[in-house]
């Protein structure tokens, strides 16, 4: 499929005002292929667990030896190591040996920002302070969306 399309045939052109949202905007829109989605999902899953989220969050504040890291996020050494391996394989963190210990840090800025963005948006999502009001008339109209 093509890349760059944000396209939206004609629907959703509205995309109104927005308020608090961060810059963002000029991000290239990649059309997701079934194949592509799998890879993306695999990476995003790294952020889909409390333990790894905590690990990355701590690393955002600076590099840390494996053991200290485990202690700070409150998990066992082994469990933490397993997760670190996963994060390493996804190129989200790097570990460099330093004496007896292996110091871990975020791979690069993309990781850092991905984390930030995720936290930011999720927080705003859960708070329900949407800026949808204009585009989406009334939610509650139908009979379907009712648990």
């Amino acid at each position: 499929m093509n890349i760059d399309s944000c396209v939206h045939s004609e629907a959703y052109d509205g995309r109104m005002g927005h308020g608090a949202a961060p810059p963002a905007s000029r991000v290239p829109r990649t059309r997701l292929t079934a194949d592509n989605a799998a890879k993306v999902a695999a990476t995003l899953q790294a952020l889909a667990t409390p333990s790894r989220l905590l690990i990355l969050s701590r690393l955002r504040e600076g590099p840390l030896p494996a053991t200290e890291l485990a202690a700070e996020v409150g998990m066992e050494q082994s469990a933490c190591s397993h997760q670190l391996r996963l994060l390493r394989n996804l190129d989200l963190v790097v570990g460099t040996r330093q004496g007896r210990s292996v110091v871990y840090s975020l791979y690069d800025n993309h990781v850092c920002e991905l984390l930030d963005q995720a936290l930011y948006h999720v927080e705003h999502l859960r708070l329900g302070l949407s800026d949808t009001a204009a585009t989406e008339p009334e939610r509650e109209s139908a009979g379907a969306p009712r648990v």
Copy 2:
């Protein structure tokens, strides 16, 4: 053995150059608590599966009736409906009845941007074209990170 990939012992104030990266930057940094992480993880997990990623991606282009949506993302009606329920509960999508069908659309712009950001960063992560190059000499330094 350097550490300093993204260094910042003092805590990431640096946030260097960056090239293609989108604005971002001015996102508030929320310190993750163990409790908080669970909630965030729950929401982010919505983006951690190919099926839901495809669903959201299609909805980004405009509202769509459930059945059509299922067809476009290539999944069975039931499976799609289950995922839509999940996405609804997380306030990521809304479904409004319209005649026989229920038309689904993204909840608001935060969802759209969260998606965009995720795709953007992930793509750059997987491609390895990090902007770390200058900062992170050789990855392979340690003995640890070797599958």
